[in-house]
Amino acid sequence: MGYTLAEKIWNSHVVHQQAGEPDLLYVDLHLINEVTSPQAFDGLRTAGRSVRRPELTLGMEDHNVPTTGIDRPIADPLSALQVQTLRRNCTDFGIELFHMGGIEQGIVHVVGPQLGLTQPGMTIVCGDSHTSTHGAFGALAFGIGTSEAEHVLATQTLPAQPFKTMSVTIEGDLPQGTSSKDVILALIAQIGTGGGQGYVLEYRGPAVEKMTMEARMTMCNMSIEAGARAGLIAPDQVTLDYLKGRPRAPQGQEWDTAAAYWLALATDEDAVFDAEVTLDAATITPFVTWGTNPGQGVPISGSVPSPEDFDDERDKAAAERALEYMGLKAGTPMKSVEVDTVFLGSCTNGRIEDLRIAAQVLQGRKVKAGMRMLVVPGSMKVKAQAEEEGLDEVFKAAGAEWRFAGCSMCLGMNPDQVGAGDRCASTSNRNFEGRQGQGARTHLVSPAVAAATAVRGTISTPADLN
């Protein structure tokens, strides 16, 4: 019997294996940020340990950096302290760090791929759950906690429990006007926030093969919202084309060796998955969440469900609570829900293709009076590219705010927050209570829907603008 992609990567990274213990896995790349790493470095210092492989570690200032006035010191003293602490730790332990305002800075899950640091067959970890994004390249990538980060810093390994594998096959072609964001929201609505628990998901099938790397990243990014440990897509020609020539990708003869190795990682024909799910791409329509977890979503043409629609008692109770928090009435058509804030950005949908799609919708149109739209590129490189293409002008002319790179309103750790009771259509990945600010109400959507919603003021697709 053959192996799945995930199993191949796992097996080639086991350093030590013993029955009754977790496997000890080697880590090829460890990404660190200002929020989840300070206590890990503290732990190292207390125990008198050093960083085993600083050159396999990359630091990034992304979670709480401001997206305006980045030439000035950070106003919030706590954020400033976290950024200073990361700088000191990276200097003390010899770790490469991208500072806010620098051209390589951005959300680490956007920057890793764009630099070519994220490569197939690697193990990648980060103290951030959306590390699953890197799985789009056929890397086994997952979020870890701070104690685990300390463990990786000290030993470049991680004790990990083996996982189960689930294939998620997307048959057919995606209809015009839908995106991989709609696919992943539909999948999570189908299998639930716990549906992927204990699994590594491998997305495959014709619709996935046709997706660009950026679309694949959006999907892998949100694997964690289905409860999965990681999401993966087999490396193929699309992957190679994306990586070739990137600054940190292999060059010359090493490229050929690497490419052959990467393509051989694909799941063997006779490999068996522990579970299988199939989705028909033709049935996918633009999706939106109505509740307070990413599984509470419906097609945009649908209505806010009633708690009575759910058979499971827990789902019923969760729906009741969510409707109360969201200030929504059952039966309300989603398209009539009024929104006051639109956020375009995050590691889910803050890449150049996402900005292009939104700009296309906004071209020649205006953001509705009274609406606040924030456009936050996922990285400084994305920002530069967008400006080269004139996308910033489209956003500004439409009345949106054009910002510097960072996590921003995705989690509201910097000043970019949604007001209490305000309603936001957001291209990010989490609609939890208070995620975008205390009392904030979040609807997760694709970039196209975010842009159309900004124009009409109610949840909309671009088709509704004509």
Binding site: L29, I144, G227, Y261
Partner: protein
């Protein structure tokens, strides 16, 4: 890491499922750079409500939390575990835990005891009717004992071993430094490196 064998304390029936780490510790508290003192941050939003269970007696001095399924979903923030520990919780009981949360708990010495949904329901009812009753958690035997009955819980055997011995992961891994060096020597040359 604090060793864990047995613990007796007050149970807190938190009748909610899908409790995500943004609720356990809102992101504004993640700006701290220390590892201690997160007790005030725990469930900070919910605690503003005077009727929230942790604002009522005797639950406010609880040390065993009984929550609905999919506890700890969402962000990987270990602060969620520190907040629960700092507040005084030693055990979380649920029918299902999010993977990362459970992993983080095991590292920091917080016991995640997995029981059936029926047992969660039973404990909720019991604790609501008799708030003063005490629960006893026995890790070696994997049991939760109430005045009336004994409930078995599941836990990964390795995590159980580590918790009962109070071992920390890094020292355990340092026994394998030679194997790590061997693996490093055999890594493909094309694998990327950061600039140091």
């Amino acid at each position: 890491m604090q060793q864990f064998t047995t613990h007796t304390g007050t149970g807190v029936p938190l009748r909610r499922s899908n409790i995500d780490t943004d609720q356990i510790i809102p992101s504004r508290f993640l700006k701290r750079v220390s590892r201690a003192g997160f007790d005030d941050a725990l469930f900070a939003e919910w605690r503003k409500d005077p009727d929230f269970i942790l604002n009522t007696t005797p639950y406010q001095s609880g040390s065993i939390l009984i929550a609905g399924s999919d506890f700890g979903i969402g962000s990987s923030r270990e602060h969620a575990v520190w907040g629960l520990l700092d507040y005084g919780f030693r055990v979380i009981v649920s029918s299902r835990f999010a993977d990362i949360f459970r992993g983080n708990s095991g590292k920091a010495g917080l016991l995640t005891a997995q029981v059936t949904e029926r047992d969660v329901e039973y404990l909720w009812n019991l604790l609501e009717q008799e708030p003063a009753t005490k629960l006893s958690v026995d890790l070696p035997n994997q049991t939760i004992t109430t005045a009336e009955t004994v409930i078995n819980f599941d836990i990964d055997p390795y995590v159980k071993w580590r918790l009962t011995m109070g071992y920390d992961d890094i020292s355990l891994t340092e026994r394998h430094l030679e194997a790590i060096a061997r693996h490093e020597a055999a890594r493909p040359a094309f694998m990327p490196r950061c600039h140091v």
